[in-house]
């Protein structure tokens, strides 16, 4: 067994500049969808200071929502096999947004919100554990509803590429890249320039003060939560066009998302975007020197390194008073 691994390793060690640029390009394309899911998670953490374990499972729901919209929903038939999945991925957003709204209304709001938002320690663990519970239900409920067989959205784009010099750009991933960047910019503008977005950021900055300023913090949290899971679901829908998935898939992306968000700086939306992009690049370029199965281990290593060396991330700040 070990000799096989060594051979694999040895072969992988030698790579050319073209290989590197190819991996880099793939990393940027994949990284944009990662960046979009990180933005979704970043909105939730930024506004609520809650670590949402279920984020990966909302992503998985986004994949299935896009899948059913494209196939049973007839979008692929109606809009063509290339455009249908993209529209389906978009529509997965509102569906998961609505589900997120309900879950926040009936479960999450009871352990978060104006009263509990500032509690570090015991209260925070109650919140994490609640999202862990939601994650277990979605994952295993998904297993019951969708079955365990891996599935995927068939689109001709994922099997064809554009050539730029020696570099191949997968068409499916390139389109996803454009959609993801566009949506991320739209979210950024929403947060920065609309009344609702500003209320959301105020609630994130200091929920107590926001409450005194007449901002409905619970409502701001509900919007942040639903928006966050909805955006991540769109990212999931985009990913679903280029890789197969099953109900446990979400978990593979939890670490991707947390690594990205921590890298960017917990609480920073802009940071989350760049963090996700970097994680995509790390993941794809790591395959140049590491065996394919260890690409997620490479992400873990980067994740741990960031946490130890620069816990405030690229765009975050640390504030602690004695």
């Amino acid at each position: 067994m070990t000799s096989v691994a060594a051979a694999r390793y040895g072969r992988a060690m030698a790579f050319s500049l073209t290989d590197f640029l190819q991996a880099l390009a793939a990393g940027v394309l994949v990284g944009a969808t990662y960046a979009l899911m990180c933005v979704g998670l970043g909105i939730i953490f930024g506004a609520m200071r809650v670590i949402n374990f279920a984020q990966g499972d909302f992503l998985m729901l986004g994949m299935y929502a896009a899948f059913y919209l494209a196939t049973s929903g007839g979008l692929s038939a109606f809009l063509g096999p290339s455009g249908g999945p993209i529209v389906a991925a978009f529509l997965a957003g509102p569906i998961v947004f609505a589900l997120g709204w309900l879950i926040h209304r009936f479960i999450v709001a009871r352990v978060t919100g104006a009263g509990a938002a500032q509690t570090e320690g015991a209260g925070a663990y109650g919140q994490i554990l609640t999202t862990l519970g939601i994650s277990l239900i979605l994952q295993n409920g998904g297993l019951i509803v969708f079955g365990s067989a891996p599935t995927g959205i068939r689109t001709p784009l994922s099997r064809s590429s554009w050539e730029i010099g020696d570099i191949l750009l997968n068409q499916g991933r390139s389109v996803s890249f454009l959609v993801a960047v566009g949506l991320a910019v739209a979210v950024y503008l929403f947060l920065g320039h609309t009344r609702q977005g500003k209320a959301l950021r105020a609630a994130a900055d200091n929920s107590q003060a926001a409450l005194y300023m007449g901002i409905d913090v619970d409502k701001a949290h509900r919007i942040a939560w639903s928006l966050g899971v909805g955006i991540t679901a769109v990212a999931g829908g985009l990913v679903a066009g280029s890789q197969s998935f099953q109900p446990y898939t979400g978990f593979d992306f939890v670490i991707v998302m947390y690594a990205g968000v921590v890298l960017g700086g917990l609480g920073s939306i802009l940071g989350a975007f760049w963090g996700g992009l970097v994680i995509g690049i790390v993941q794809q370029t790591s395959t140049l020197i590491l065996p394919y199965q260890l690409q997620n281990t490479a992400i873990f290593v980067v994740f741990l390194l960031i946490i130890f060396l620069r816990p405030q991330g690229m765009f975050g700040r640390l504030s602690e008073r004695t």
Partner: protein, 592 residues
């Protein structure tokens, strides 16, 4: 040392539990039920192991699967490659788990709260991929028909029940020992307020590491026995998220931080999930996970403290809390170290050119300061002048960028707070940092560990310190229920308990009414008259002028004046920067 009543009662409870399991084991004839019983016991042991770290110290681990999995693979690979019996490899797994705990803790304990929990999540998942890559996808344990007992392979499933019970009892006894020792009390203090624990002389890093190593060792043993029982090991089954989640869900359901909570959780949830899985697993393959998910949300919404604490609180409502053993030692005459003459010429604390910057802000800029042994010195200055930063630099919370800090002729630079405390510097905080769920006596006892060889001595020293500040009557009250004045006095007592030579008091008078003020001032004078050197930060000028014999004035991180109260309040720069002209005139008038 005789066992306390509470410990004896717990020992009987453990014995009763073991007997009950054995009776149940004898009554059950189905192999399947014996297997479920074994799983209940193993998961109880796993959850209890998790509880030693996360329940007692408050450092939540989302990654205990890493220990469980390493234990399982130690047994499986030991048997396959080295032909080693689980009788050897399960204890060896404990060593592997303990070492893994040390390796993980070494970097990870630099983190707190969310960051710690997230980092812990990464370890088992990273390990999972590594084991997949190594090709250990599905490892069946080979049958050893020639010597089954030697390889822990029994035809009778009751043998596994007995083994799992043995492991659980060991884990219960270890937990009980931890709870009733300095170890447990230190973890408990860390959970409630880590900086305060550190400043009170507790080597927080060491205790956290020990807790993680012990916890990892026990979890590995449970994982190893699990491999023996199930006879097959896969990376997903032993390193997967469900393992880590299950350990903490069981503890959370039953009651985090309690001896019986994890056991209650395992007894209720494991058979429920197993039963549903057996009945409905074919139709509804994820039912086990759904049950855990629902259980966790239900418990958070309905009884966030867990079943054990809920029952205990209800029970305690009907029955009065057992009267705490009276602290007889309070009457033992205090034996403070010999009173040093306040006039001793030698400087106890000397700061030379101390500086620290935060980004571009120079919080302290070349501060020179000396405090003679037996002195009562005050530090004043406007908000943001760097007063608390100065204390944080002296007691080791912050490392200065430059300069020397000497205490009794020894440099303090680079020492962590607990070491500074050990050398004889106690401190209190601007915002009181109590351990709210501990009694007053326990709060102060934590502070006394530094100077005491054993728990009894620590408790006696705590009693003495509480008497010194006049809080002797409140020893058994919970700190969470104290008034502001009592909290300030308790914090003073905690700083005094290890009999320090110098105490740093940070705005001890803040937020106190006029009547309360005098009591605290008297306590401070009393402490000083016993030979303890005092350095105090305070804004209440009237009180300070009466109290101290020397002022050092900070402004923008620099020392702008130093001298007797009379000269300092007349100092032009001090009036400009801090006092204000009008006020200064009044005080000077009043002082005449």
């Amino acid at each position: 040392m005789t066992l306390s009543l509470a410990v004896k009662r717990q020992l009987w409870a453990i014995l009763g539990f073991a007997v009950a399991v054995l009776v149940l084991m004898a009554l059950l004839y189905s192999d399947y039920f014996e297997l479920v019983l074994t799983q209940v016991l193993l998961w109880a042991a796993m959850s209890l192991a998790w509880n030693i770290l996360s329940g007692y110290s408050g450092y939540f681990s989302f990654g205990h699967a890493v220990f469980w999995g390493l234990g399982a693979y130690t047994v499986a690979l030991g048997l396959i490659h080295l032909d080693l019996s689980p009788w050897l490899t399960i204890p060896a797994g404990a060593i592997v788990g303990g070492l893994a705990g040390a390796l993980i803790g070494f970097p990870t304990f630099r983190l707190r709260g969310h960051y710690f929990a997230l980092a812990m999540l990464a370890y088992p998942l990273a390990t999972l991929y590594v084991f997949q890559w190594l090709g250990y996808q599905e490892i069946p344990l080979p049958m050893k028909r020639e010597a089954p007992i030697l390889y822990m392979q029994f035809a009778d499933p009751r043998a596994y029940v007995a083994l799992a019970l043995g492991l659980l009892v060991i884990t219960l006894l270890i937990s009980l020992r931890v709870e009733n020792s300095r170890f447990g009390m230190s973890l408990f203090a860390i959970k409630q307020n880590e900086p305060a624990a550190e400043a009170a002389g507790i080597d927080t890093w060491r205790w956290k590491m020990l807790a993680l190593m012990l916890s990892g060792a026990l979890a590995s043993m449970a994982g190893g026995l699990y491999a023996v029982v199930l006879l097959v090991v896969t990376p997903e089954a032993v390193f997967g998220m469900l393992v880590s989640a299950q350990a903490l869900i069981l503890a959370l359901f039953g009651g985090v931080g309690s001896l019986w909570g994890p056991v209650i959780g395992a007894v209720v949830l494991v058979p429920l999930a197993e039963g549903l899985n057996a009945e409905l697993g074919d139709v509804l393959p994820g039912i086990q996970g759904v049950v855990y998910g629902v259980a966790i949300i239900a418990i958070i919404l309905l009884a966030p403290e867990g079943v054990y604490w809920r029952i205990r609180d209800r029970f305690a409502g009907h029955m009065p809390e057992p009267i705490p053993t009276p602290v007889t030692s309070l009457t033992i005459p205090a034996t403070p170290r010999e009173v040093r003459a306040p006039t001793a010429a030698a400087d106890l604390l000397v700061l030379h050119d101390v500086g620290i910057s935060f980004g571009g802000l120079r919080a302290l800029d070349g501060v020179d300061l000396s405090v003679p042994e037996g002195g009562l010195y005050g530090i004043i200055g406007p908000n943001g002048a760097g007063k608390t930063t100065l204390f944080n630099v002296i007691n080791g919370f912050l490392a200065s960028d430059r300069g020397n800090i000497n205490f009794a002729g020894e440099s303090l630079v680079g020492l962590p707070p607990n070491q500074v405390c050990r050398r004889g510097i106690g401190r209190t905080f601007q915002v009181v940092r109590a351990f709210p769920r501990m009694t007053v006596l326990e709060n102060v006892t934590v502070g006394a560990f530094v100077g005491a060889a054993d728990n009894a001595t620590a408790q006696r020293m705590a009693g003495i310190a509480l008497d010194r500040v006049g809080l002797g009557a409140r020893v058994n009250a919970l700190a969470g229920g104290l008034t502001n004045r009592e909290l300030r006095l308790m914090e003073l007592a905690r700083a005094l308990a290890p009999q320090p030579r110098l105490i740093l008091l940070d705005e001890t008078l803040a937020g106190l009414g006029h009547d309360d003020l005098d009591g605290i001032l008297d306590a401070i004078r009393q402490v000083r008259s016993e030979g303890v050197t005092v350095l105090i930060i305070e804004h209440t000028m009237q009180a300070m002028i009466q109290l101290v014999d020397h002022f050092d004035v900070l402004d923008h991180g620099r020392l702008i004046a130093s001298g007797t109260p009379e000269t300092v309040v007349r100092n032009h720069e001090v009036i400009e920067a801090y006092l204000g002209k009008k006020w200064a005139e009044q005080v000077v008038e009043a002082a005449k």
